[in-house]
């Protein structure tokens, strides 16, 4: 084989701690290597042309590039060698940046390690064979998981483009957190007034199938052809018959059910429609509070329902949806402030969270839009807001900024003044983060026009005095301790990953960060793609963001799906397992270990069984290869021979 090696300097990224010239000279001595060179930026247009020129001039049959991580530029170089007439799998990459030059400053050791990595790549390349992808048809349906504003936007954009959309929502209504908000910053427009029409659109679009009160059970398949099992949880109400009239809710005798939509500030009934604008507007029985289910008799809802829709014997149902792409928009949950014992959340009834205050402000909230204290229903005069509760605080495991609290506090302080003109609002903050369009002006308006007192410093303690609360904190600008007496304290609880996010990520085979937010493929350049082809992200499930950014990302994810679906077929990677039938002993171990169900039995003449790989399902993980006793099953492009060649070269 005639091999060419191109050692990249990556500007100074590699060259400053690796002697790239020496690497090139040393590997020139290897058998089969007929050409080596170094280049400042191999990934650049002229860098790629240099490779193509060398392939032609030196009749190269294989190429090694020693540069950055293959995650970054392997596709770039594969395309480059392909243009010059080589098969794209006759190319290997040695990672001498992330694995070498960025790891240590020891130039001598780095150079030696770089040489070893290149030698290994050359050794492997000698065993490489041209591989060819196959093509499969794309199922042009898309699933959106999560019916908050990001998911709704993605679903509507896909539906507008004519795609069949399956929207899956865990709760009994779509709308997500935005449906709970009163007004939205920085324009103070009513949240449910701008979200409501979009929710109705979802219900009315004929090409959107909505599975509410449903969760993802399992996901199989691959880009273009996923099969998703969805568990439709038992609602005990036949939603096809239910008209959403609400008579059952009115008559239900179980009246002490904490209202989740009102964040526990009021009670609802055991059978309920979560809020008036709910989509779908259908009733659901909460089994743990229903008298029929807990005590065995009642049945009032069944008696009063004019549509005869109550079904006490209903069970969960699992449906399988086949789709070509998945958009994940599962949103977030809010930090539980009981970690801050010194703030007394849960202990003092008038210390509430930001989302609870949204419900209090809302006209459809627990107090009909009148600001009242949860403890005694009195109208507060002094309201203190505390920023960064569960944000930017490593001591509670939340070192990141939630990005929305500074803005929602300013909004809530403004609304407080609107509701109660003679009230006073105080904000304890660390820094004010208001970088988006019209945001800083909005905060200034809160300070200057609405007279909200901003105090820069953390609060150390909240304690009761009479029926009021004393907020004791630091004013770091004045360098003194301050005490503010308040009637109501609002903790700006931060954003955290949605409950169950990690489990869902594992079902989808996508990665998540240490806090449970889903990982994008590249933090800047591929912000809606995941590492798994065909699965895209939208909204806060990827990281804290506000409504405009969530909506934008919802549309971006839809655009990615449309781009994918613009083709009728897609190439599948040939880097999959394949069975050498005469070596297979039909033990079936590979079938047991395959996490994707990609191996099945194949019957030969005379009833002989052999393992067979379904190449379109195989993800190339290699578990079967490691398990197979006679090594009859081999992973293409990472065969035993190729791996052993690399190890032998390293140990030589």
């Amino acid at each position: 084989m005639r091999i060419g090696v191109f050692v990249c300097q990556c500007g100074t990224n590699i060259a400053s701690t690796v002697d790239t010239e020496r690497v090139a000279q040393e590997v020139k001595k290897l058998p089969d290597v007929v050409y080596t060179t170094t280049y400042m930026y191999t990934c650049s247009e002229p860098g790629q042309q240099e490779i193509q020129r060398a392939i032609e001039e030196h009749n190269l049959q294989g190429v090694v590039v020693a540069a950055c991580s293959p995650r970054m530029h392997e596709p770039t170089f594969r395309r480059a060698v392909e243009k010059a007439g080589l098969n794209r799998y006759m190319f290997e990459m040695a990672n001498i940046r992330e694995h070498v030059s960025w790891v240590s400053n020891d130039r001598e050791a780095n150079t030696k390690k770089a040489i070893e990595l290149v030698r290994m790549a050359v050794a492997k390349l000698r065993f490489n064979q041209p591989l060819f992808p196959s093509r499969v048809a794309i199922n042009k349906r898309v699933m959106v998981i999560g019916g908050g504003v990001a998911g709704i936007q993605a679903a509507l954009d896909c539906a507008d483009a004519g795609l069949d959309v399956v929207l899956v929502e865990r709760r009994t209504s779509i709308g997500g957190k935005m449906a709970q908000l009163d007004k939205t910053f920085p324009t103070i427009d009513c949240s449910s007034c701008i979200l409501g029409p979009k929710m109705v659109d979802v219900a009315q679009k004929e090409n959107i199938t909505l599975h509410a009160y449903s969760e993802i059970e399992s996901v199989s398949g691959y880009v273009g052809n996923f099969a998703v099992r969805v568990r439709k949880k038992a609602t005990y109400v036949d939603w096809k018959a239910c008209t959403g009239c609400g008579v059952c809710m009115e008559k239900c005798p179980s009246r002490k059910v904490p209202d989740e939509f009102n964040e526990g500030l009021s009670f609802t009934r055991a059978i309920n429609i979560p809020f008036p604008q709910a989509i779908p507007k259908k009733a659901t029985i909460n089994r743990s509070y229903c008298i029929y289910f807990t005590k065995g008799k009642c049945g009032i809802c069944a008696k009063v329902c004019p549509a005869k829709a109550i079904r006490y014997d209903m069970t969960d149902e699992v449906v399988t949806e086949e789709v070509g792409a998945i958009i994940v928009a599962t949103g977030y949950d809010l930090f539980d402030p009981s970690a801050y014992g010194e703030y007394g959340a849960g202990q003092y009834r008038d210390v509430i969270t930001g989302i609870q205050y949204e419900r209090i402000l809302s006209a459809s909230g627990p107090f009909g839009g009148h600001i009242k204290r949860p403890s005694d229903g009195r109208e507060p005069k002094d309201v203190v807001f505390i920023a960064c509760v569960g944000s930017r605080d490593a001591s509670v495991g939340r070192p990141y900024c939630s990005g929305v609290c500074c803005m929602y506090i300013a909004k809530q302080a403004i609304l407080t003044k609107d509701h109660i003109p003679n009230s006073r609002s105080y904000v304890f903050y660390m820094d004010i983060r208001s970088p988006a369009k019209n945001y800083d002006e909005f905060v200034r308006r809160a300070q200057e026009e609405y007279g909200v007192q901003y105090i820069r410093g953390r609060v150390g303690k909240i304690y009761p005095r009479g029926d009021r609360l004393v907020v004791q904190g630091m004013d770091t600008l004045l360098g003194i301790q301050v005490e503010v007496e308040a009637d109501l304290v609002v903790l700006a609880t931060g954003i955290e990953a949605s409950r169950g996010a990690r489990e869902l990520a594992e079902k989808l085979h996508i990665s998540y960060d240490q806090y449970g937010f889903f990982m994008e493929n590249h933090p800047k350049l591929r912000p809606v793609e995941t590492n798994t082809a065909g699965i895209y992200l939208a909204g806060v499930c990827q990281g804290p963001k506000d409504i405009p950014a969530s909506v934008a990302q919802g549309s971006a994810a839809a655009a990615k799906v449309l781009a994918l679906f613009a083709r009728d077929t897609i190439e599948t990677s040939p880097q999959v397992a394949s069975v050498t039938e005469r070596a297979c002993i039909a033990c079936g171990k590979c079938i047991e270990v395959c996490p994707y169900g990609a191996i099945r039995w194949k019957e030969l003449k005379g009833g002989v069984r052999k393992a067979e790989v379904i190449t379109t399902v195989c993800q190339g993980c290699g578990l079967c290869n490691a398990t197979c006793p006679p090594k009859a099953i081999q992973l293409q492009h990472a065969t035993d021979n190729q791996i052993l060649a690399e190890i032998e070269e390293l140990c030589a």
Binding site: Y340, G341, E342, G344, Q347, K461, Y463, P464
Partner: protein, 286 residues
């Protein structure tokens, strides 16, 4: 009898002799055999850790290694000593300073207990309850834990560091009324009383006012530093603010002895600056 190592710390040899006497009696009645750590040295608080981080770890490290050789769990009555020993334990076990770990090879085979926590485990409270002869009826007490025993939780391993309840449970076991209040873990100002009495006076006045507002007739503490600031300076604080405070401050161990009917304890109470005897007399306890 259970044998444990006692690390008394320096205050219990001086100003807090009353604490020491009372805890020794209480422990012996409860079947806890206190064996003083031989050759113990200063824990380094407060002076060492404000000057030299390594030295601040070295002092407690030496004590920990000595205690580990003895092989018994250590109980620490002083909040500051407890905090320093726990801090050093964490540093040694996590090997944050390899040179320190090398010099003081502490393996973590013994536990370090705050005396209050040690004497208020559910089993211990059961034992205390069975020994109570004279329930302390009429005493209405706020429990003041101070800042160092519970915080920071990553050092102290306290379960409920902002709202501890073990002293309240003890008070109730002894037959007195425990009053819940929000200043359980507030700072008393500790040794700042020497340099900045004005600051400490403000902090302590807040405690008195709240205790009185909630109708407490005594404060119970587990730290001799808190005791000093709340008891010794009460007259000066009264004068400073033009008030007339008279609120006795008890060590929790003293209350155990009183409830057990130990006559010696009544004599030792006269060592307090704020005389608790009138209050006890009012309640019909003596």
């Amino acid at each position: 009898m259970v044998d444990v190592t006692l690390y008394p710390g320096c205050s219990l040899e001086g100003t807090a002799q009353d604490y020491r006497d009372s805890l020794e009696i209480a422990c012996s009645r409860l079947g806890v055999n206190l064996i003083e750590l031989e050759n113990w040295i200063c824990c380094g608080a407060t002076a060492a850790h404000s000057l030299d981080e390594f030295l601040a770890l070295e002092f407690p490290a030496r004590n920990l290694v000595l205690a580990e050789k003895r092989g018994l769990d250590v109980v620490v009555p002083c909040a500051l000593c407890f905090n320093r020993l726990k801090t050093t334990e964490k540093h040694l076990l996590k090997n944050t300073h390899p040179e320190l770990t090398k010099k003081y090879p502490f393996k973590g085979t013994i536990k370090i207990h705050d005396l209050l926590a040690y004497l208020t485990t559910p089993d211990m409270l059961k034992g205390i309850s069975s020994l109570v002869k004279k329930p302390l009826e009429g005493l209405k007490l706020v429990s003041y834990y101070g800042c160092m025993v519970n915080r920071p939780p990553r050092i102290t391993d306290a379960q409920n560091h902002e709202n501890p309840t073990q002293m309240d449970r003890l008070v109730e076991t002894l037959g007195a009324t425990a009053i819940d209040w929000p200043f359980k873990t507030d700072c008393c100002g500790a040794s700042h009383v020497v340099a900045r009495p004005d600051l400490v006076f403000v902090l302590v006045k807040k405690l008195y006012d709240r205790a009185i507002a909630q109708e407490a007739n005594g404060i119970v503490v587990s730290c001799q530093m808190c005791h000093a600031n709340l008891d010794m300076y009460q007259d000066q604080i009264s004068e400073y603010f033009g008030e007339r405070y008279h609120i006795p401050v008890f060590y929790f161990t003293e209350l155990i002895n009183l409830a057990f009917g130990d006559e010696r304890q009544i004599g030792w109470l006269s060592r307090h600056v704020v005389d608790p005897l009138p209050t006890l007399r009012e309640c019909g306890l003596i």
